[in-house]
């Protein structure tokens, strides 16, 4: 069955009617409002996702991205319970004869054992409150205990341990969610999009663990607030900075070090965070006797900054900044650098206790420079993608059972695919510039989060996305055949002239049904469009790939995803089991012709093959949540396939990142206050391989003959990492010891075939990115 067979238009009409009705009926309710913020008592950080419940009832709400909540309550309610993972639960007495505004301070858990009972009581309520299906929240506290590669915990490496999320292999940027490509993930840092979330090809991510407060990944049922990518949203929020006292913390490791400074500027009003990180493999090279080695190396750095200011009870301002760069240098011959920068400015305004608003103005940029500085070939090549956006989001807390989110987003995107300039007088390279491309992507959305009965919750949303491709050149092809020889006309558009436009409606739906005290059934559906795609024909994205906005010839890619699942907790609430099945149907997927020229190509449409795709699978997970030993085992059985005319005779074939079996497990053992240990294990089917089916001789050289694309697989991948953390008593510092790839498995990244060195025979060769165990030691400090 194709999704296009479904009554897509009817679904949109029903959704619209439902959204309107909700507004009319519920606007009439009149109750007193309890609103306010939930904060960490020691740092004053607003807590995202804390649960505010009326004990013994199903009435409750979750604090939003700014720690704000609002709940309409009857006068009969005398207390509310506030809880958050990693914090002691608090009962707060309330007198609801009139609107109340509160700030609830939660104490971080001092001793884990004391809070076991309390957190167990709240977990089920939390699950039901947090309706979103296929959502995973990443606790930074938990993250800190995970095994470390190169002495650091890493957000992206750890989300790949979750069911349904995988990576192509070590040393690759990006991750794959439910059989989707790495460019299908919307990665947001304080709301600004990050185009390449990897440092050093994915060995590190751009998220400095010292600067991150909260992260959430949506694998399905994307809320209507998000759009523009097909597979997932990774929403990462930076820390606001300690509001109570100045603190310095960080870590010194064998490969990289971090330091962060955080504190109040004006107590209770203004706070800041400044965090920096740098790897220093290149610095070791400085001790070399060889000048070229001294001048070579690879390193990255990043800088996070944030300032927050409370103007009044109703108005707050946030300023966030991120800058990250990777540098590589090979003596005086070759140099490259790439990186992201994001800036966001946000203004929270509370119109009334029920109506919360946030205005964001942001800019985001990704660029790279490549330089070759040698004789006739000397040149420098630059490419940039930039984004300037405005978002206005509002939340209307209509009743204890209903919340309405709506807003407007608009982004102006600029693409500079490439500029080449010769460097040095001996260079034989001519200057060249690819025309700049512009686009305007905007959206209106509305979403209702409503409890229809004690047992049934629904989140229904609609996003209207509009994309306009502005300026540039469009070639006209004879008979619509994309061939350079068939160009019969050239249309030039002024800087803001509209070349192409797309208006798309995207329905979103999440349902949650509480079967019994311990069981929740969930279902979700989302439809999204991706208007900007990564132009890449390599199996893993490279840092020098470019992004291409849709035009009249390159259609936006689309997906429909449905998912069904069940969450079951044990009676003690200590164990949680999850099962989810999903099906995704893709259309307008872009693949490239064999031998396609993807850089400096003004007629990219001549290199593209359009196709369809499907991905489906089942995810299972079991988690132990409390006690000295905690952990999770996840297993995903899935398939991701594509069908493109011109590849494998137009038959279905495995996507580059198809990994049918994917098992990951982690465990954390807290021996005592001093020591904790953790381990994770990963096992996955080897990724697809295009096999040689023969060889031939041509002008004295041996060439391979390749068989069907991705018809075979490289051997399976497995790896164990272990780590230990030591917290010496009475000291401010702690030690982290880690072994990545503990049993030194030589996991193949690829298998390939080549003539042997002396050129008179052939051989099969295995490439492993890490061939041995990687030890690391880091000293973490806090003052």
């Amino acid at each position: 069955m194709q999704f296009s067979d479904l009554p897509f238009k009817q679904l949109i009409c029903v959704l619209c009617a439902y959204l309107m009705l909700t507004g009319i009926v519920l606007a009439q309710e009149e109750k007193a409002v309890l609103s306010g913020y939930v904060r960490d008592s020691s740092t004053g950080e607003d807590l995202i996702g804390a649960t505010i419940m009326v004990p013994g009832t199903g009435i409750g709400v979750i604090s939003n991205h700014y720690g704000y909540f609002s709940l309409n309550l009857n006068e009969s309610i005398t207390q509310v319970q506030i809880s958050f993972i990693g914090y002691e639960t608090k009962l707060v007495p309330v007198n609801m004869n009139q609107d109340r505004n509160v700030v609830v301070q939660l104490e971080p858990e001092g001793i884990a054992m004391q809070t076991v009972v309390v957190s167990a009581e709240t977990s089920e309520a939390d699950r039901f409150q947090e309706i979103g299906m296929s959502v995973e929240r990443i606790s930074i506290t938990q993250l800190q205990k995970m095994p470390k590669l190169f002495g650091e915990v890493d957000l992206i490496r750890n989300i790949t341990l979750m069911p349904g999320i995988s990576t192509i292999g070590e040393g690759t940027s990006g991750f794959n969610v439910r059989g989707g490509g790495a460019d299908e993930n919307l990665i947001l840092l304080d709301e600004a999009p990050v185009y390449n979330a990897a440092h050093v090809m994915g060995f590190f991510s751009v998220f400095n663990p010292d600067a991150i407060k909260d992260a959430k990944i949506y694998k399905g049922g994307l809320p209507a607030q998000y759009g523009g990518r097909l597979s997932s949203v990774l929403d990462v929020r930076q820390l606001d900075g300690n509001k109570n006292k100045l603190e310095v913390y960080g870590g010194i490791g064998n490969l990289s070090s971090r330091v962060a400074l955080s504190g109040p500027i004006q107590k209770g009003k203004t706070s800041f965070l400044l965090a920096g990180r740098r790897s220093y493999l290149d610095q070791f090279a400085r001790f070399s006797n060889n000048e070229d080695t001294r001048n070579s190396g690879i390193y990255f750095y990043d800088l996070n900054a944030k300032i927050n200011h409370v103007i009044s009870e109703k108005d707050k301002l946030y300023f966030s900044y991120y800058l990250g760069k990777d540098h590589m240098k090979l003596a005086d011959m070759f140099k490259t650098q790439w990186g992201n920068s994001t800036t966001s400015f946000r203004w929270n305004h509370i119109f009334n206790p029920r109506l919360f608003s946030n205005l964001t103005v942001l800019s985001s940029r990704y660029d790279y420079t490549i330089g070759v500085y040698d004789g006739a070939n000397a040149f420098e090549w630059k490419s940039t993608i930039g984004n300037l956006a405005l978002k206005y989001d509002m939340t209307f807390f209509l009743s204890p059972n209903t919340t309405l989110d709506f807003g407007l987003h608009a982004a102006q995107q600029g693409f500079e695919p490439g500029v080449v300039n010769p460097t040095g007088p001996e260079s034989g390279i001519n200057p060249m510039q690819m025309p700049e491309e512009k686009a305007l992507e905007s959206a209106l959305y509305i979403s209702v989060d409503q409890k229809l009965s004690e047992k049934l919750k629904v989140q229904a949303g609609l996003r209207m996305a509009d994309f306009r491709r502005l300026g540039g050149t469009q070639y006209v092809y004879e008979n619509g055949i994309f061939d350079r020889e068939a160009i019969i006309d050239t249309l030039n558009f002024g800087k803001w002239g509209q070349m192409a436009s797309f208006l798309r409606l995207e329905p979103r739906l999440n349902l949650s049904y509480q079967m019994d005290k311990n069981t929740i059934l969930k279902a979700s559906y989302h439809h999204t469009n991706q208007f900007v795609q990564l132009v890449s024909n390599t199996s893993a994205p490279s840092p020098i790939d470019i992004w291409k906005p849709a035009n009249n010839y390159i259609q936006p890619s689309q997906v429909h995803q449905i998912a069904l699942g069940m969450v079951k907790s044990s009676a003690s609430k200590n164990y949680e089991f999850l099962v989810e099945g999903f099906y995704k149907n893709y259309s307008h997927i872009n693949e490239f012709k064999n031998g396609a020229q993807l850089t400096f190509n003004r007629t990219l449409e001549t290199e593209i093959l359009e196709g369809i795709g499907r991905a489906y699978g089942i995810e299972l997970s079991a988690e132990k949540k409390q006690g000295k030993l905690t952990g999770r085992v996840s297993y995903t059985l899935s398939k991701s396939e594509r069908k493109v005319e011109g590849i494998n005779s137009g038959d279905w074939y495995n996507a580059n990142f198809d990994k049918p079996h994917d098992l990951s497990a982690f465990a954390v053992f807290e021996l005592n206050k001093k020591w904790d240990f953790s381990a994770n294990f990963v096992y996955a089917t080897g990724r697809p391989l295009t096999m040689v089916v023969g060889r031939y001789e041509h002008q004295g050289r041996t060439f391979p003959i390749m068989g069907d694309r991705n018809a075979h697989r490289i051997p399976d991948y497995h790896r164990l990492d272990i780590s230990a953390n030591l917290h010496p008593e009475g000291k401010r510092g702690s030690w982290s010891f880690g072994l990545y790839n503990a049993y030194a498995r030589r996991n193949p990244y690829s298998i390939f075939f080549r003539p042997n060195e002396n050129g008179n025979g052939t051989e099969a060769v295995r490439l492993s990115i890490l061939g041995s165990v990687m030890p690391s030691v880091t000293y973490n400090f806090k003052f």
């Binding site: 080449v420 003959i705 990115i769």
Partner: protein, 279 residues
């Protein structure tokens, strides 16, 4: 410089912790193809074509096709038939003319082990024989070891130029003491897209030489299709074994047939220069 060369350089830096090892692998997949390896050139008047059947990748030796009938055409007019000089190798004498187009028509003999190929016809798409610019000078210099990517030794460079007007494609072949550098990753190709009309000064080759070596550089002209054919094999060879490999595929031959066929029949003019590495 090609994007893949850049990617190779980036990979090289990343891969300092990686390891590559030859593995014992059973490759059961084999699909026979007819292989055509022929060229019209101006280094010698003996024009050669080799016809064979492809072998499983790890198997040694060749399966030569004997008894094929090959007719050579110039601007569509027959110049006669090739003669088989040894099993699978066919020869004809010709001094090609700049600006003329050459193609061949082949009829395969009866092939008892590959019956589906018997008596099949293969026709090549005509290739233009285009004059190549000369190598104006050749030199060499001693270079120190460089950052692990360049060994200490002697390196050869040439001076040449690209004529004004897009559409020139080049290949350089290097020979050390009469032996060709023949790995697919050692193919050296250039399109004039970024260097159109320019003097190419100190065009430098990455092969290392020792004192006493005799080095010959062959500079040849390629058609766009042949350039794309060689570029495909080169890209595949350098991307495999790196972080950013592309899914493998076969280059497009300029040969039409109703059976699986691979290879190329090209027309290239050559300019050659030789230098002996001395003190």
């Amino acid at each position: 410089m090609k994007k893949h060369n850049i990617i190779v350089l980036i990979s090289l830096l990343i891969l300092t912790v990686s390891c590559v090892d030859v593995i014992d692998m059973q490759i059961n997949d084999y699909e026979p193809y007819v292989v055509i390896d022929g060229e019209i050139q101006d280094i010698s008047e003996n024009q050669e074509i080799k016809i064979s059947i492809s072998q499983p990748y790890l198997k040694e030796g060749e399966i030569w096709v004997s008894g094929a009938e090959i007719e050579l055409f110039e601007n569509g007019n027959s110049l006669g038939f090739y003669k088989e000089v040894k099993a699978g190798t066919y020869m004809i004498t010709l001094v090609p003319t700049y600006g003329n187009k050459y193609h061949i028509e082949i009829t395969l003999p009866e092939l008892t082990n590959f019956l589906e190929f018997s008596y099949q016809k293969i026709i090549s798409i005509p290739e233009l024989f285009k004059e190549v610019t000369p190598i104006e000078s050749i030199g060499y210099e001693f270079r120190q070891e460089k950052a692990g990517v360049m060994e200490e030794g002697y390196y050869v460079f040439i001076d040449t130029f690209d004529p004004v007007g897009l559409g020139d494609f080049y290949q350089w072949k290097l020979e050390k003491n009469g032996k060709l550098f023949n790995l697919p990753s050692e193919l050296t190709l250039l399109s004039d897209e970024l260097v159109d009309g320019n003097q190419l000064h100190d065009l430098f080759f990455f092969e290392r030489f020792d004192k006493g070596d005799t080095v010959t550089v062959y500079q040849s002209s390629l058609s766009k299709n042949y350039y794309k054919f060689l570029e495909a094999v080169y890209t595949l060879a350098v991307s495999q074994g790196g972080l950013f490999e592309i899914p493998g595929y076969n280059p497009t031959p300029n040969l039409k047939a109703e059976i699986p066929i691979i290879g190329y029949f090209n027309a290239s003019s050559y300019s050659k220069a030789t230098v002996i590495i001395e003190e």
